[in-house]
């Protein structure tokens, strides 16, 4: 993928302007998935800004974001990192054969109580 085009596409898709970031780190400080991530929310912002996007596309960090909007709510500059992570995740799973979750994975994950909501949400986040 052309690097410049990839950066512009992610910015347009997310509606986020990473240049607004003032590097305070509050997004990562408040992220409930921080410990599980290789790249943290503030790194998504700075790496998209600098165009260093390939490592993000290959990272499991994309699938650890809970989309809980804590970073969106608490960013003092209104940068909305979760929207940027979502755009990178979609860019990753829209590639052919790159679905994170397939219907074949589901039976092993089921128990008697799991709500339908968990399945539809996971499919929406992890699969195109």
């Amino acid at each position: 993928m052309n690097k410049k085009y990839l950066r512009e596409d992610i910015i347009r898709m997310s509606g986020v302007n990473p240049k607004k970031c003032m590097r305070c780190g509050k997004c990562s400080g408040t992220c409930p998935a921080y410990d599980e991530m290789e790249y943290h929310p503030h790194q998504f912002v700075s790496m998209v800004e600098s165009g260093d996007i390939e490592p993000l596309l290959e990272s499991d960090s994309l699938y650890r974001c809970l989309t809980c909007f804590a970073c969106v709510e608490r960013c003092p500059r209104g940068v909305e990192p979760a929207k940027l992570i979502e755009a990178v995740r979609l860019t990753a799973i829209r590639r052919q054969g790159a679905n994170r979750l397939t219907p074949n994975d589901i039976p092993a994950m089921l128990d008697d109580e799991i709500p339908q909501q968990a399945l539809v949400s996971a499919f929406r986040k992890y699969t195109k």
Binding site: R64, K83, E113, P115, Q117, A118, S121
Partner: protein
């Protein structure tokens, strides 16, 4: 008073109590919830990407169905509410998005973002009123210490959801007081339970839900209430040793319309 009502997929399956007691309690409060016909699942989560159009159409159709009946729309599941409300916001404020949506929907008539969406809790606060609710309570829940678990989806993003102060909410605590019980305030009440990531990383959900349970119990809770089936699942699965119940079930109990059935 009549409203359009969107229950959502889980409320017809694993979360029947959330649906059943919502309808029954509303009736006791003089409100009739008319279920939208032929609705489809909202998708469970709102995709923030502006170029995701087709995945949001089911929510647009829910909003349009209410508009066609000239009714305001009530939701009860936190996730459905978040998706429907964020979709409505995009229809109102993102002209490029709404134009694309309306091209998809040309054959069924467009939608302009004009439906008013209330979460059931907002209906209790803004339409019924907590004072009026207090007067309708026949079985006050005296002596119970109840922790309201908001999670993430009811409150955030605050600029769109506009339900309450996203960092210091009071709506569920006020409901708990109106029912005669004592609310327990604890720090993790608006932090995520782990959500859908339970499918990808059960360990992460276990950690996040465990934090919520421990925090609520440390503040003296003997019960946790929620509006979200996935929050309930994650908390129950990850060591909740106090009851985790839907807020509508507790409401039905206080209003004296909860029947003991084993459905």
């Amino acid at each position: 008073m009549k409203f359009s009502y969107f229950p959502g997929c889980t409320l017809k399956n694993k979360a029947k109590d959330l649906d059943r007691y919502a309808i029954r309690s509303a009736e006791a409060l003089g409100i009739s919830l008319e279920e939208i016909e032929n609705w489809q699942c909202c998708g469970g989560v709102f995709t923030t990407a502006r170029d995701e159009i087709a995945t949001k159409l089911s929510s647009v159709r829910i909003l349009k169905a209410a508009k066609d009946k000239e009714q305001d729309l009530i939701t009860v599941c936190s996730a459905c509410h978040n998706v429907v409300k964020q979709t409505n916001n995009a229809m109102q404020n993102d002209a490029e998005f709404s134009s694309k949506v309306n091209r998809y929907m040309a054959s069924e008539g467009g939608y302009d973002g004009s439906t008013t969406v209330y979460h059931y809790l907002e209906m209790l606060r803004d339409i019924v009123g907590f004072d009026a609710l207090r007067e309708k309570v026949v079985k006050p829940l005296s002596g119970k210490k109840i922790a309201a678990y908001y999670g993430c989806l009811l409150l955030r993003p605050g600029s769109v959801m506009k339900m309450d102060d996203p960092e210091n909410p009071t709506i569920m605590e006020d409901m708990i007081r109106a029912m005669g019980a004592e609310p327990v305030i604890y720090g993790n009440r608006n932090e995520c339970c782990g959500g859908y990531v339970v499918m990808e990383s059960p360990e992460l959900a276990k950690k996040k839900s465990g934090d919520v349970i421990r925090n609520a119990k440390a503040q003296g809770a003997d019960m946790i209430i929620t509006a979200c089936p996935l929050c309930k699942y994650n908390l129950m699965k990850n060591g909740a040793d106090v009851p985790v119940v839907y807020f509508t079930e507790l409401l039905a109990e206080a209003l004296g319309v909860k029947e003991d059935t084993n459905e």
